[in-house]
Subunit: 383 residues, 2 copies
């Protein structure tokens, strides 16, 4: 154990729960679904006045499994387990933390691979193209169900942070704090380009069948593999890849073939194979569109300050120096817009070598900052 | 016409020529081919003592068609036409310039899609994995054929510059100047990763058939499309893409589908479609390996200074500030190693917004620099 690390324990064994919603849900695109389910997990206890709830929003390929582990799958540790638990920066002795799989996902919530109750068949290509706004709206229904009128905080990194930001715009009364980590107010052309490469890899895979592959017994794994590789390279910094892999050879020599020569190739192939086994291609397509479409300033003529004017939450905005996907410069645009609105903003730029992935990692300064921020959020302890 | 541009004319109509070599060629990997052809073009006149020849080496997807145009295809202008011609920075009134398609290419020189004279069938998967060293060696045979004992200069950008550099190591007596533009002494892990994504897209395309697709009447176009998109994004800078495309919508609104929403998507798809029509997938695979394998320091324990110790040429090294594929930092490694060897080096870092592609573009400072450098190369004019 690194003694500098924040002391804390795991939340231990957790069990996902399912919330079924039977009111129709209208998406931003206009599509309506009659019913849907959201799978979620909770850690800690909701206090008597329901004021200590923290919503954790997930990014691209993560899920509701934010902390702890499963009784029947002890190796499956939540994706933000290093940050959330008793005595951890987001202290579950004080906060009631909720992780939710988003609509359109493939980890249990209703998505393209789910059965459409209207047809009895998987949604496939007919599942709507979702947006951050849709996700946030669907999350309010879960909050209603759990009896949470206002979150102590909504938090996330990357695409998760876009959801935090959208909460402050769409439902300013329903959260007191927003943690916006490794975020951008919209994607750059380069970001969109990488997403489009991933989509083209999937869509042109002959096993994609226009998105209706479930009943054909195939999945577009080739495309998903390439899509994942593109994603993976953009999450890591050039320096981090150099430090981790450099030009190390897999077998000590060049093969003069298209087998694996370099360790980085081996690593990418392994990650891609793993991903293509468990992730759904239709979900991946939609999540990249969610990212591309997010642009709160768009409806305000590109004016982010006006877009963020409704926000009432206090903000913690965090960026990482080597994040070339969502660079500190992009976070500063958010900070600047919030300050223009005389908002309550804490901003930190963490000097970390890990690129965009840094928000998931156990960086001491970053975790101390989050811990200090949550320390200042006043809540009653216990139910 | 921009009046700031270097005054000069086109070399006009040009005609490719073919050099057939019937001595066996042994590749670095050990493979031997019995015979091969190189297609090339020349511009200007070789002088009486054969001292004014300039070899131009091409990069990833270019060819021997460096300058001028074709009588039957006037729109097909050489890829470095802005730099080479009468009165241009590389002045064909003074220099005899040669462009050559490399071995393994798909523009006329012997490569995977050529017929293997031993079998009467296309080489396909059996064509060797080539290296920069192989290319340079094959180019010496063309120089012998043309009666050029020593080049006034060998020049190239990107992968072309790697060939210039290799010339100074492998054949130090055979060139007086090396122009090393937008180069790196080897690829970073991130560079290799992007190449591996491109390769995986091609190799996993069901129409690839292990590289032996020619006789099946198919080509792995899906994979080539994705490969080209990956390449394209890495050649442009983030800023350049932001300036050129930003978040401009193709149809003025979001589609909520997987059709084209943003201009950048439309551009990438167009470029990818075009590329997949004319480029050979087996060649693309090999050229990415040529890049990955290039690492002159490797055989010297990573010591680039020792690797470059044989070089006798004078150098012009040029980098571009926004090139994130081969950053100025990487060019400075080359300069530093050359200076350690007390070499004759001119180095310039050009402040240009265009990323890696800048070496192909008509940037005034860059072109003036090349012109000034060539002015100092003393040659006799005329034959």
């Amino acid at each position: 154990m690194d003694e500098n690390k924040h002391i804390g324990q795991s939340v231990g064994i957790v069990t996902p729960q399912v919330a079924k919603f039977t009111e129709p849900f209208t998406f931003k695109c206009g599509a309506v679904i009659a019913d849907y389910e959201l799978v979620y997990e909770t850690y800690g206890m909701l206090n008597s006045d329901h004021s200590n709830a923290v919503l954790v929003c997930h990014a691209l390929n993560a899920s509701h499994h934010v902390a702890g582990t499963y009784a029947d799958d002890p190796g499956n540790v939540g994706w933000w387990d290093n940050l959330i638990g008793p005595g951890k920066p987001v202290d579950t002795n004080r906060f009631f933390v909720i992780g939710v799989n988003n609509l359109g996902g493939c980890h249990g919530s209703t998505g393209p691979k789910s059965i459409n109750s209207g047809t009895g068949k998987p949604w496939g290509s007919q599942f709507p193209v979702v947006t951050v706004e849709d996700w946030v709206k669907s999350q309010t229904r879960l909050a209603d169900r759990l009896g949470i009128p206002q979150f102590a905080a909504v938090m996330g990194g990357s695409l998760g942070a876009m959801q935090s930001l959208q909460w402050t715009i769409s439902y300013p009364e329903r959260l007191r704090h927003a943690l916006v980590i490794a975020c951008a107010p919209n994607l750059s052309a380069q970001n969109i380009a990488f997403n489009e490469i991933a989509r083209q890899a999937i869509i042109t895979d002959p096993d994609f069948h226009g998105g209706d592959y479930y009943e054909r017994g195939v999945t577009p794994k080739r495309g998903l593999r390439v899509a994942r590789m593109v994603g993976h390279v953009t999450y890591l910094s050039d320096d981090e890849m150099a430090n981790k892999f450099g030009r190390q050879l897999k077998h000590g020599k060049l093969n003069y073939s298209f087998d694996t020569d370099f360790q980085i190739e081996s690593y990418l192939r392994y990650q891609a194979d793993k991903f293509a086994e468990y992730f759904d291609a239709n979900t991946y397509l939609r999540i990249t569109k969610v990212l591309d479409y997010f642009d709160p300033a768009f409806e305000h003529g590109g004016d982010l300050t006006r877009a963020l004017a409704p926000a009432k939450a206090a903000f913690l905005v965090v960026s990482f120096t080597t994040d070339w996907r969502f660079s500190p410069e992009r976070s500063r645009e958010i900070v600047s817009a919030l300050l223009d609105n005389r908002g309550d903003v804490t901003y930190a730029e963490i000097d970390a070598p890990h690129g965009h992935d840094a928000f998931l990692l156990d960086d001491e300064r970053y975790h101390r900052l989050v811990a200090a921020y949550f320390d200042r959020i006043g809540v009653e302890v216990g139910a």
